[in-house]
């Protein structure tokens, strides 16, 4: 159970959009990290990835996803659902990435809970269990849209530090 829950940093995308969102110089003084992401994309793609320390390798995971009419499981690195430009206007998805013991020397697990919003049949809800097979402490986090996409204005990300004492 968290003893303290502290907002470390927040970001909101401006009018020019953003190719990605990156938190740098993350302090090592917390126990766990929680990244809350709410985004919309400029194109028809609606996925984004989480990366650590600028590294794109050694990421793995399993996800369970429903889309309003079916359920599927995937073997894929941790991802979040965004909002494509075909979904209901002015709506943004909601995703949590929880990373326990981010500053330790063990591999880092990532728990994902992600939903998209759409006033139509197809909307996504995904749960994921991921792993970054690295012994490095996490000092930066990148939120990267799939397919070279862009986050639109008012997309936002929040980084929280959780301490257990």
């Amino acid at each position: 159970m968290a003893n303290t829950y502290t907002l470390i940093a927040s970001s909101t995308v401006g009018s020019g959009g953003a190719a990605n969102i990156e938190f740098t110089s993350i302090p090592s003084t917390y126990t766990d990290l929680l990244v809350k992401v709410s985004v919309r994309m400029t194109s028809t793609y609606d996925l984004f990835w989480i990366r650590f320390n600028g590294v794109t390798t050694n990421l793995s995971g399993k996800s369970l996803q429903g889309d309003g009419s079916s359920v599927a499981s995937y073997t894929v690195e941790p991802y979040g659902r965004g909002q494509s430009n075909t979904t209901t206007s002015n709506t943004f998805s909601s995703t949590d990435f929880y990373v326990p013991n981010y500053a330790g020397s063990n591999y880092k697990s990532i728990s994902t809970d992600s939903v998209s919003e759409n006033n139509a049949t197809q909307a996504y809800a995904a749960l994921g269990a991921g792993l970054w097979s690295s012994t490095s402490a996490i000092t930066s986090i990148q939120i990267v849209p799939n397919g070279g996409d862009t986050f639109v204005q008012y997309s936002a990300a929040y980084l929280y530090g959780i301490s257990n004492s």
């Binding site: 940093a9 020019g16 959009g17 953003a18 190719a19 969102i21 990156e22 938190f23 740098t24 070279g148």
Partner: protein
């Protein structure tokens, strides 16, 4: 080309930084791969739908009737 949004957690400063040539090239490669994946998935979905209909036709059943049987 959009910039990347960097937030320094020590200072709280938020800055927009131009992508490097390498990052731009990576975005373009990602875009090409995503499009190829989308096309491949569409083809796979179409093939699955065709196979499913073929089986339904052989059985002489509708999808709703099969769903009722399996419920």
């Amino acid at each position: 080309m959009p910039n990347k949004l960097i937030i320094n957690c020590e200072t709280g400063e938020q800055t927009e930084v131009e992508l490097t040539a390498e990052e731009i090239a990576q975005r373009e490669a990602d875009a090409a791969k995503a499009e190829a994946d989308r096309v491949a998935k569409e083809a796979e979905d179409a093939a699955k739908a065709a196979l499913k209909q073929e089986v339904l036709d052989k059985l002489g059943l509708s999808a709703e009737e099969v769903a009722a049987l399996l419920a």
